[in-house]
Every structure is written in structure tokens, then in C-alpha cells.
Symmetry: C2
Subunit: 468 residues, 2 copies
């Protein structure tokens, strides 16, 4: 006896009901992307490892799924190499391809490879799975979808404004109340510059980003570990309205000051930093443009927002669902030189990425998936035998021509089994057609919710199903 | 200087225009699947190799893309094993996962794994890429999409009838004229039985299947090579209305007899074969049921149709585009025991698979892709500077609320560059809004096809774009 088969850990099957819900999310996002003039592309699941390696840091390289070369992949490997038994070294010798780790690097590769055929600014979106050999855990999978929209080839802040409108439109359509947090890497660079440690910009950003999670005193420890002096830390803290305390007196998990106070502090603090002031100006313009556009989401300046990826150079964006404890459900930012790694420098871009899995979890938590998907079956014809099924097939043709999703149970099984099928598939109506109905050319329709039965002709049935 | 990056051979990027066209095909097929009550599932790209190996024959095993285990995958391999340098043997030791080769085996695995949650008969569809380490050549790729619909858990021929209706509905919707060829493995088994060589059923089928490609005399050679006697071959040929010639007199590439003559010959030839007669009866029922259903495609009995896959046991179906030289664009059949390999015997199923790539080629050849995709941008707002763009953003919000896909050029670049952008993206209308238009609260609209310009207000614009 064979044991029950399974799938690799960290991967998932999606059942019909899960697919309906996932498609609801994907379709909503797609529709908004189209409204804003973004066009879809797809790239292959496998990329050359030379495209992927070195783009996600050392840790990222380890998380790439590598695909074994076909054929006699050992033929060119010497016995000496094999005897070293070095897995990492051997892997690049027996494997040339890897599964894509995200959609950003393949997109950069696509832009460079097709630069002569692309009309810039290029507004593309992409919705495809990515793969990471991460340790699987709750809400972290080895295969998951990303939904990215990017504009490359334009420095205009109008792109940021449009992306913020897209975020607002998507979450408004999905009935999710969100806060859109905005910061700018130039502000973070300005802070580091003013502290006299311009090369520590990212270290500071990443440490500050953790205030919510690990508390102020642990942030201090991390900053000290990174070699940042106590007086710099004190100055840093003054921005966040804690005066200039010594680190030991800082209360753990104290909330940061309201964002408008921090913002005003920053304007003063950065008054001598060219890059810092540019960051402030950019934020101001986004603020000015978005304020009149009937945006429903809360937009908030967040100086502690860093985002881990080191290719961001300007605006950074992160979206949190209000009143729900879950990580960010969308994020993005501007990058000045993503295609540079593939030999096409000076192509600025800005993009956002929606986290489909987390959005799914939010919608499930707040119970906001639509009750009617539009793709499921509206009516099941019960099968009473050969004459009846032949009659039903003709009716089915008419019903489907009217655009109504309809089925006939394929076997003349017991009525109970057929009704169970309708129940399990959540089919709202059942048609019962026996000898009498054939003779009268009528349909007995049963409403599965109310239990009511009613006789009607085919035109009445189509009319009724089209309204419901 | 970095060289221009590339993608693995046999894989493809899909540009925006290609994606629009591919989505047109996928969406059309999906809509029909929904009309017939099929529900979508997805399975992971990677399956355990234990699920995949041995399911596609020895040749298939070689064509599986295997994914290298993560971490120190060599740690458990002995130096002796390594020194053998046997690629095939080592691959199963350093790789536990593979990319799916088709959608059928993962579906069988899904059904067995989820048998307690599934309502049977289970009507599922699946549209996902599959991967094969085939030698890439024209129209053969290492990554390509399959679009499968299957019903499992029902023996009823009504399922075959519904699938034939689906095929007809899809190709009617796509404006492709097709012939649906039907045969039955039981008829092929009956022929072999009557020839006294019941175990040669598949050999005969596969040889006959090649009549069109290699001609009669080469088929004879192949049959002789398979150990089939000359008198059996003569009998076989009598079915196809060539009398009982000696093989040497047969004209190469002579067309087979019309299908109705072959069909009548078969009724007589199989009159003593139980399995053969069952096959004829099954075909008759399908013929009877489909004849009254307003099916637009030609349905044709084809005794030479075999289909390579050895899990088929009943009806087999293949679809050819009329008047176009291309392989089959859809195919399928009934299998009695696909889930048996995973320990769940006696679950009969029947399914079809649409070949998206070939359908794409056909639509391109006959120039039947729709001119308007519905997803591309309808209007571009020209950017004349800061005051103008702010004004345009407000108008854009209104236009998009009306469901119209619209863009603004993000930079105040030269008019020519902006107009080129509209041309290259095939945007049919351009809005020109300068100082005057802002003062008057009007829009100057340019029709990019006719070149005409006209002033209007926002309500008139929305009305016009909604009609066009």
C-alpha cells in the first residue's frame, strides 16, 4: 500500500475556495494597475544563476533554489573537486539556473535585455510566484506570489504620487483600512551626515526601524555595537523628542513622539544638510500633491521607517492595516540605479509590492471576502436518467449562452447524493426536471437557501438567475 | 562593462503586448470553464521527486528539472559515492524536489492527498506553467503553460459530452474553426484483440497515428518491426478500406478512407469483441448527445487517433485547427485509474488540455486577436508643468472612478516625446491641458487616429471614452 503523497515543506496547494479568494485579491489589484496605465509582463521561473547570485547579499545567495544541470552534469567535474565535498563550491559547477527569488532583479534584467524595444518611462506590473529556501514557519512560505508595479526611466515624484493613489485605490476596493507610512532615504542620509557619520546611514535606519519591536534601549545597544558614539545617539534621540537623555534612563518601549513633532524637529536638524533638505522637499511635494486627491487612507510621515533593501535611494513606503496585528501588507520605494548591476546605469525607478498572502490573512480576519465570487456555479440540474439528461443538455446550452454558470450532475445517482453535491459546492439553485416537466416544458426550481420550490419556463429561469 | 544579461535557453519573457494576447486566451478559456462548473486549483511548482519519478517513463524521468537540496547537501554523501561519478544515481541523493512536468500527475496527487475534503465528482481546472528539460526548438519550450480541465469520480459519458461542448465553446469564442477528432482506446483494444495480438494494442495505435506524417509503407515497416505479422497488417488495412493489399504495393502517403467508411468497417470487424463493441457504443452515445447541441465545430471519428499517453483507457480527443498546418491545439481523454499510482484505486476521470502556445500561434496566423484588449490605457494627459499636472491629477481621479484606464506623463518633457509615448503604447486619445484649459475648466482632446482636436468638459470626456 502506497503512503499518502505530500508536497515539499513550505509549499502549498490552493483549493477552489482559496483560489477564488486569491483571484479576488489579484483581480482587484490588476484592475487598479490597468486604471493607472501599468502593463503586465512575465519572466521565466528559472533565471541564470549569474543573474541572481550576489544580488540579495550572502544570506540571499544561500536561499536561492538551484536547479541541477540536465544530462551527465558530473562529466566535467574532476575527482579532486568532488573529493573536496564543498557543497557551495560544487553547486555553481553542477547548476547554472536558479528559481527567481523576487520580481525586482528579473525585472531589472528584463529592462536591460529589452532596452531597445521598451518605451520609457516603462510602467510594468508582474504577478508571479517567487521561491526562497527559507526555514518554513507560520506565514512564511518557500513559494509565494509577489505583485509588483514599477515605473522606470523617470525621476518625477508624480510617480510616487500615482503609486500612493494605487495603494489607496487597492485597499479601498478591498475594504481594508490602512495607514500609508512614508519616509525618504535622503532624510536618513541627512541625519547620518549631520551626526558626522555619513557612512552609517543604513545602520542607523535599520536600528531605528526596530523601535516598535525591540524598544529604545535595545536600539541604543545596537547603535553602540555598530560603533556609533553616545553623543550621536543622544542627538538622534533629540529628533524623536526624548530630549537628550543618557541611554540608561530611557524607558524601554516608550512610544516615539507624534510624527508631526518628529517632522518639525527634522526640518531644523537637517537645515544644513543638502541631501537631508532634498528629502524633506520631496516628502513635502508628495504631501502637497496627495492632499487634494480624495485619498481615503491615512498618510503618515514616519522617520523610523527604513526598509531593509539597500537599493532604495529616495522615497520609501510601507503600508499597515489599521487595527490588525500583522506586518506590512505593501511596501516599496525609489531606487536610482537598479539596472546598473546589469550594465545600464542612470535609470531611476520607483515601485511597490503587494503582499498577497498577508492581504489574504487580513481579509479573512476582518471577514471581508465577497460572499459571491461570480465564478462559482449558479444552478445544478439534477440527473434523473437518460431521457431527462438529454432534455437538460439543451436547456443548459441556452442558460450558458446567457452567461450563467451551470452544471448537470453527470450520473443518475440518488437524489440525496446530488443535493449534497449542490450543498458542498454552495450552488444556490437546483433544477428538478422529470417526466412531467419535460411534457410541460417547465423547470421546477429549488432555492437551496429558502428551500422553496417553484415551476417556471426557461426564459423565466434565465431572467431570475441573471438578477440574483 | 557587464555583458547584456540573458535567460536560460528554452525559456521566454513575455512583453506587455504578448501578455495581453496570452491573457485573452487564458481568460476566454477560464470563462468557459466557469460556465461549465469547473473550479480552479493551483499546486506548487516543486513536487517531491518521489511524486514525479516513474510517472512519465524513463525518457520523462530524464526530462525532469531537479532542484538541488539546500544547505550542505554533500554532507551525507560518501566519498565512494562521489567517486563513482554517476550523475543519475547521485541526483536522487542530492535532490529531493523537482519542477512539475505536467498538471495531471500533481492533480492526481492532490486528489489523493485531499480525498476527504473533496466533493466528487470533482471538476477542477488548472492553468500553470510546467517545465521539461527537452532540447529547445521551434515552438518547443522548457517552460510553458498548460490549461487543463478534468472531472474525476464519475464514469458517465456526459462528462465527455460536456468537455466536447467546452472545446467547441472555447474555439468558437476565440474565432478559430476546428475539427474535434474522437476515438476510443477500447476500439483500439478491440482491433488488437480481433487480430489475435491483444498486448500490441498501443503499438498498433501509435503506428497508425503516424499515417499522416510518415505514410502507409513506413507504418507497415514499423508494425513489422514491432513483431506484428503480415496477415494482421493486411486485416488492419482492410479496415482502412485499402482492400487487403500486400504492403509493397501500397502507395506512400495515400489518404485513408473517409471516416464514416472506416467506422462502418469497424462495426463489422469488432462485432465479436466485447471491449471493441463497448468502444463503439461509447462513441455512438457521444455522437447522439452532441448532435443536438448546436455545436459549431466539426466532430469526426478518427480510428487512427491514438494519443501517446498510456494512461488513457476510453474516449480520446484531439483538436485540429482547420486550414492551418499546426499540431493539435487541444487534446485529452478518459483514464480509469490515474490516482491508483498514489494508492487510491478505481477513481475514473476524463480531462482535456488546451495548448496555449499553439493557440497563440494560430490566432497570430489568422490575425484574430482582438484589436482592443480592454486593459490598455485609453487616454494620456500631456504634462505641461507643475500647475498643469496638479490640475490633471484631479481630473484623472474622476476619470478613473468612471473605470477608464488613464495616465499622465510623469515629466514635463518635450511634447514630441510625450506624443511618441502615446503612439508607442497605442493610446487612442491624448488630453492637452494648458493655462487656457485650466482657466476655462475644459480639456482639449486629440484623437490619435484621426488627428482631430476638440474642446470639451470632463463629463463630456468621460461619456465619450466610455462609448469608444
Amino acid at each position: 500500500m502506497t503512503s499518502i503523497p505530500s508536497i515539499p515543506k513550505g509549499t502549498r496547494d490552493f483549493s477552489p475556495i482559496e483560489m477564488e479568494r486569491r483571484n479576488y485579491i489579484f483581480d482587484t489589484i490588476k484592475k487598479v494597475f490597468h486604471l493607472y496605465g501599468f502593463m503586465q509582463i512575465e519572466t521565466p521561473a528559472m533565471e541564470n544563476l549569474s543573474t541572481l547570485l550576489g544580488k540579495y547579499g550572502e544570506e540571499g545567495d544561500k536561499l536561492l533554489f538551484k536547479v541541477l544541470n540536465s544530462g551527465d552534469y558530473l562529466s566535467k567535474i574532476t575527482t579532486e573537486e568532488l573529493q573536496q565535498k564543498e557543497s557551495t563550491k560544487l553547486s555553481t559547477r553542477i547548476s547554472e539556473k536558479g528559481l527567481r527569488y523576487d520580481l525586482t532583479v528579473p525585472f531589472a534584467r528584463y529592462v536591460v535585455q529589452n532596452r531597445n524595444d521598451i518605451t520609457f518611462p516603462f510602467k510594468r506590473y508582474q504577478m508571479q510566484p517567487v521561491w526562497r529556501a527559507d526555514r518554513p514557519q507560520k506565514s512564511r512560505y518557500r513559494e509565494f506570489y509577489q505583485c509588483d508595479a514599477d515605473v522606470v526611466g523617470s525621476n518625477s515624484l508624480l510617480n510616487e504620487v500615482e503609486l500612493i493613489k494605487i495603494i489607496d485605490a487597492v485597499f479601498t476596493a478591498l475594504n481594508i483600512s490602512v495607514t500609508i507610512k512614508i519616509n525618504n532615504r535622503k532624510i536618513l542620509a541627512g541625519i547620518a551626515e549631520e551626526l558626522g557619520i555619513p557612512d552609517k546611514s543604513l545602520d542607523i535606519a535599520i536600528a531605528i526601524d526596530k523601535i516598535d519591536k525591540i524598544g529604545w534601549d535595545n536600539v541604543v545597544k545596537e547603535l553602540l555595537n555598530k560603533g556609533i558614539q553616545q553623543d550621536s545617539i543622544d542627538k538622534l534621540f533629540s529628533i524623536f523628542d526624548f530630549g537628550e537623555p543618557e541611554s540608561k534612563t530611557i524607558v524601554s518601549h516608550a512610544p516615539p513622539a507624534p510624527s508631526d513633532i518628529v517632522y518639525n524637529n527634522l526640518i531644523e536638524f537637517l537645515s544644513n544638510s543638502v541631501i537631508g533638505k532634498t528629502g524633506i522637499d520631496e516628502y513635502n511635494k508628495i504631501q502637497e500633491y496627495t492632499s487634494n486627491l480624495n485619498i481615503k487612507s491615512r498618510i503618515e510621515f514616519d522617520a523610523s521607517l527604513a526598509r531593509g533593501l539597500n537599493y532604495y535611494t529616495g522615497t520609501i513606503i510601507e503600508v499597515k492595516a489599521n487595527n490588525i496585528e500583522i506586518g506590512s501588507i505593501c511596501g516599496g520605494g525609489r531606487y536610482d540605479d537598479l539596472t546598473g548591476i546589469f550594465g545600464l546605469p542612470n535609470v531611476s525607478g520607483v515601485g511597490i509590492s503587494f503582499g498577497a498572502d498577508r492581504i489574504y490573512d487580513v481579509l479573512k480576519t476582518i471577514d471581508k471576502f465577497p460572499k459571491e465570487s461570480g465564478v462559482s456555479t449558479k444552478i445544478l440540474f439534477i440527473n434523473f436518467g437518460k431521457q431527462e439528461e438529454k432534455h437538460c443538455l439543451t436547456l443548459l446550452t441556452k442558460i450558458r449562452q446567457a452567461g450563467i454558470n451551470a452544471e448537470i450532475f453527470p450520473d443518475a445517482d440518488k437524489l440525496k447524493k446530488q443535493m449534497n453535491y449542490a450543498n458542498n459546492k454552495n450552488i444556490p439553485f437546483v433544477a428538478l426536471i422529470g417526466e412531467n416537466e419535460i411534457a410541460e416544458n417547465t423547470i421546477t426550481l429549488k432555492d437551496m437557501n429558502s428551500g422553496e420550490q417553484k415551476k417556471m419556463n426557461i426564459e423565466e429561469l434565465i431572467c431570475l438567475l441573471n438578477v440574483k
